[in-house]
Amino acid sequence: MDRLEPLATELRRELGTPPETWFQTQRARLQSAVRQPAQRRTPRSRLLVAAALCAGLGLGVWALAPTLGSPIAEDTWLVAEELREPHRFEDGSTIALGPGGRGRLLVREDAIRFDLHAGRATFDVTPKQPRSWIISAGKNEVRVVGTRFSVLYGSEESFEVHVERGVVSVRVPERSSAIELEAGDRLQGRPGRMALLHGPLASVTPPAAPAPASPSVPAASPSGAASAVSPSVASSENDWQALYRQGDYAASLARARAIGVNKLIDELSPKGLAELADAARLGGDPDLAVRALTALEKRFPSSAEARDGRFLLGRVHALRGDTKAATHAFESYLARNGASTYTAEAIGRLMELYSRGGDSERARAMADRYLERAPNGPYQRLARSLLGRTPH
């Protein structure tokens, strides 16, 4: 066995193969380039002479000139655990990621492309965009004008688009033409098994049962819902949890509110409270998240959910900009838990909070502690800079 084999196997797995959308984009670019009239070619000998004349001057300029700008203005990976708030563009458009969500963002002058690799991403695109927005998820592609919608790309290529506002155009491999989705529409399923849901039920249907038997996209019934959906499911009291588990936090939160948050906070189990807090945190209601986490701590102080809840409470406070409460929550988490799930992250966040607050002594102490525990972790650069060490 080769010594490099473990690394090579991991690298090949990570590398994968080019997605279909990449081939389609390249093909479209190629077609457009081929259609342009070919430039008249200069004889090679003349080129060589010109090159020789320019060489001396060119080399000097080249050495001094900055690297020519790439047409890509931004090329970044968005990872849910690193995004403390939605990724915001200068025109006000945003991308938010659900737990486990990750994808690559490519920003060009004329287009924004987001390749969703996993999880749910919610897009709020400011209307009348000068740039086109394209979201790819596996072999599916969503094109946007100006709207708010979410895309889920999950295990076994499960795919879902839910439009809250505006219109989007979706391309799936099964159909040669694009599917237009309007506000309230939901397209969901897997390759070969897609369902389109219109109307109010589209926003409450549990995506756990996404695919009707039909091999293609069925037309919506006049009543407004695809036939595969059972209305009784929507009325179940637990469906907010089903929606939460599918990553549809806005719908989950709306359903929880309809049931009554006070009732839920009083009656839910530790796990249920943790899920409610998550749905609230990720669905855009940090106040409710704080209430649920506080109730969790109060009602079930020794539960595993309450232990992690202290850390999550710190995150929610940080999200709301309440630095003092966030610091207190992280300190409390570390004081009570010793080594557990979020220890490194709690230390990293405390280091950041102390540093921002000008408490450099405590920030350095946390930096030291952080590097000892996670020398290659996401806060290592800040930690090293605080300690005056060279980053890796």
């Binding site: 066995m1 080769d2 010594r3 490099l4 084999e5 473990p6 690394l7 090579a8 991991e10 690298l11 090949r12 797995r13 990570e14 590398l15 994968g16 193969t17 080019p18 990449w22 081939f23 984009t25 390249q26 093909r27 670019r29 190629l30 077609q31 380039a33 081929v34 080399l59 080249w62 050495a63 001094l64 690297t67 790439s70 047409p71 890509i72 090329d75 970044t76 990976w77 990872v79 849910a80 655990e81 690193e82 486990g100 990750r102 992250e345 020398p375 290659n376 972790g377 996401p378 290592q380 650069r381 890796h392």
Partner: protein, 224 residues
């Protein structure tokens, strides 16, 4: 059923690629050696569409192997596709189109790396080819890939090009020799040199060091 000679394939990166149709196989269907993969194009496809359907998988794999995390990846790929479309009429044997396209892609990327190296040398830039190393909380695999690309950038190009095909593409020596236009013997020598250099550099990186196999416990399998 015993495999036919044509079905015998190495675990090479270009194994699944459609080959050119023979005279008895009219377009638009293109079959692989073992007829397991069928590439279809629309009835009204243009010659460029057919050409693209044939070469895209080859070019895609080469580009992905060398430039997966590179910010210029898509632009370089586009240049390669254009070069192929413009140069395809010069290919005398249509059955060799895919092999020719793969070599065009490797040469184009070789030139990109060479230009970058030269530019770095002139401007004393220290930045690498691949995306800047950003710490991702839960994106370890991507970080390992980025760190590996960084290490590969330190290899001489004549070693980096074949070694990347071996490490990331799992290509055979014969295949690499064909793509790099060298003899198998030369490729074996370069692979061995690159391998030793790569391990030496990777051992300095904490994220890569832990992923290298144990020297004493494992039998080394050199390409030579």
């Amino acid at each position: 059923m015993a495999p036919t000679p044509s079905a015998k394939r190495s675990p090479a990166i270009f194994a699944g690629v459609a080959r050119a149709p023979g005279p008895a196989e009219p377009l638009p269907e293109l079959r692989t050696d073992d007829s397991a993969r069928l590439v279809l194009v629309d009835k009204d496809a243009t010659p460029e569409d057919v050409l693209y359907a044939r070469v895209a998988p080859v070019v895609g794999r080469v580009v992905w192997t060398y430039l997966a995390t590179d910010p210029e990846r898509d632009d370089v790929a586009q240049e390669i596709f254009l070069a192929i479309v413009r140069g395809a009429p010069s290919v005398k044997d249509p059955a060799r189109l895919e092999g020719w396209a793969a070599r065009v892609a490797v040469n184009a990327i070789w030139n990109v790396f060479r230009r970058r190296k030269f530019r770095r040398w002139l401007s004393l830039e220290s930045s690498g080819d691949s995306e800047p190393l950003i710490d991702h909380a839960d994106f370890e695999g991507r970080e390992v890939l980025a760190r590996t690309q960084r290490v590969l950038e330190h290899l001489p190009l004549k070693e980096r090009m074949p070694f990347t095909l071996k490490l990331l593409g799992n290509a055979s020596v014969e295949e690499i020799a064909r793509l790099c236009n060298c003899s198998s013997r030369t490729i074996k020598r370069r692979l061995n040199d690159a391998r030793a250099r790569f391990i030496r550099l990777a051992e300095r990186d904490p994220a890569l060091r832990g992923r290298l196999g144990n020297v004493s416990a494992l039998t080394e399998d050199h390409d030579g």
